[in-house]
Symmetry: C2
Subunit: 338 residues, 2 copies
Amino acid sequence: MKKDINIKEVARKAGVSIATVSRVFNNSGTVKESTRKKIEAVIEETGYYPNVLARELAEKKTHLIGLIVHNMTGEGIPRTINGVNEVLEENQYNLLIACTNGNIESEMKHFEIFRSKRVEGILFATREFKEEHRDLIKKLPIPVVVLLQRTDQEQISYVAFDNYTFAKEATNKLISLGHKKIAFIGGPVTSVNANERQQGFMDALKENQLKVDNDLNRNGDFTIENGYCQMQEILSFNRDITAVIAVNDGMAIGAINCLQDHDIVVPEKVSVLGLDDTVLAKASRLKLSGVRYSYTDLGKKGAELILQQVESTEPFFEERLIPYTIYLRESVSSPTSE
Amino acid sequence: MKKDINIKEVARKAGVSIATVSRVFNNSGTVKESTRKKIEAVIEETGYYPNVLARELAEKKTHLIGLIVHNMTGEGIPRTINGVNEVLEENQYNLLIACTNGNIESEMKHFEIFRSKRVEGILFATREFKEEHRDLIKKLPIPVVVLLQRTDQEQISYVAFDNYTFAKEATNKLISLGHKKIAFIGGPVTSVNANERQQGFMDALKENQLKVDNDLNRNGDFTIENGYCQMQEILSFNRDITAVIAVNDGMAIGAINCLQDHDIVVPEKVSVLGLDDTVLAKASRLKLSGVRYSYTDLGKKGAELILQQVESTEPFFEERLIPYTIYLRESVSSPTSE
């Protein structure tokens, strides 16, 4: 491919020394404004640097924010990215995204890459926030905001959903409707958010003197198919449950499909609630009950927070939880039989 | 926030001139290997550059590929990204992603940003590939591969789905089953892929001497709700259609819901086919018929192609279409009444 022209040629064309060009490039030392202009003109003309970088040189800012995510599957992360993008654009910042599949080496590497590309701040979403993450982030000279996960007592800013609380509240709603035998289809044990929801469910039962039956408190993999299988397992243990909570819509729909295949009417015999509000909830004919929380808003709040930190001279920490609403639709009713 | 140390200090610590450091940085001119090592040591020690960049200096390569997408909504783009990531990782390349919402200024800007960040190649997905895109790409000194869209006669490489052909083939399948009155729910006129599918549908009708009725050939917005409304419109014009093709699963499910609300049995009275194979197809109890094509494979092929171009000394162009399979499930049958 065509070779880029190098700094030597830029210096020659501008009639200055390489050191001067590099001073302009690195914003180190002082350079006469006229000289800077001359060099930037060459930069423009030769396309040695694109305009963006020329602008950066003038402003001494890159106006770049990095976003590291652990995956792209599901609706959550893409919606979060849209929210982040929206706010950054309003503020004339640009976003670079990296997808790591959640392995820590890849995450470390991408923090490095973003640093080397001179981003001014980093938004970080990982499967499970670990000590290594904390230690790395504390060493970084640029601000980091963790998305979609609490970093409690880490003195690291985050924007997250209040998974524990809304799962507990949703469970209490079912209990207040009269449900006593409630099954739970959780996520993989590796999912922090799913675990928080499961904990909220279990604590709600305990606080209502209802026993947590491990056969009815399961861990699935978020898919419709697995929701179906988990429900089948639950039924094999106990057929007089009156409600099921699934940690996401996919498994809730799988559970409904399974119940219907066993001629168990939803919600008359068994109520179903998914701790989620995705497009899947709309796809199922039976209007699924669930919890509404906006990934887009989470992304926006995350972007606002990172920009505040980038612009603040003193580092500061802030924890933000995104509001939610629990809504009961066709798939939930009071138990008609015990 | 803590200020980075600048090139002057690096030069001082390494006991060399700024010009030498910048020569190493820019791979311009020659630098004694021992000197390069000394400078890289300082780089390591001071953290002036993260290791990544130090490695880049040694290798004279950034091992970075840029991906520009126009949105993150739906399953397609995220799956494509996963495919791209997989192949790049296998080849020790890293991916930086930018999301533009499809406006051309933002796209141009991100090409610039990626250039300034020294990516070695760019993968590009846009809503509609225009002349401005072609002109920009032809000026770039690095290779570009367009994803999810043909760039015909542009001499620009692409990896895309064969929308026109599979839509035509799917329509012919319905016709061969005996369907003569077939409605079509297309996408927004701004969607090139949706338009190609609509064209394939219309050409299939024409080639079978079936008339294209504009009332039954509509443009929706990809949502379940809109699929429902489009179907209602179609029924208001004509109740003796025997099949409906929707350009995506969401609108196909909306159409099924609408038909069922009008007590029109699927598929006995009306067959429904979505030119798609998303998680939504699994969510609907009635197994939806459709077309299977892998966004992940498309992403992989795109990554392979850009790496070949990055590594080739001569620019070259290649056009790749991703294979597909049409599958008929519960939602499609022969018409039982005409």
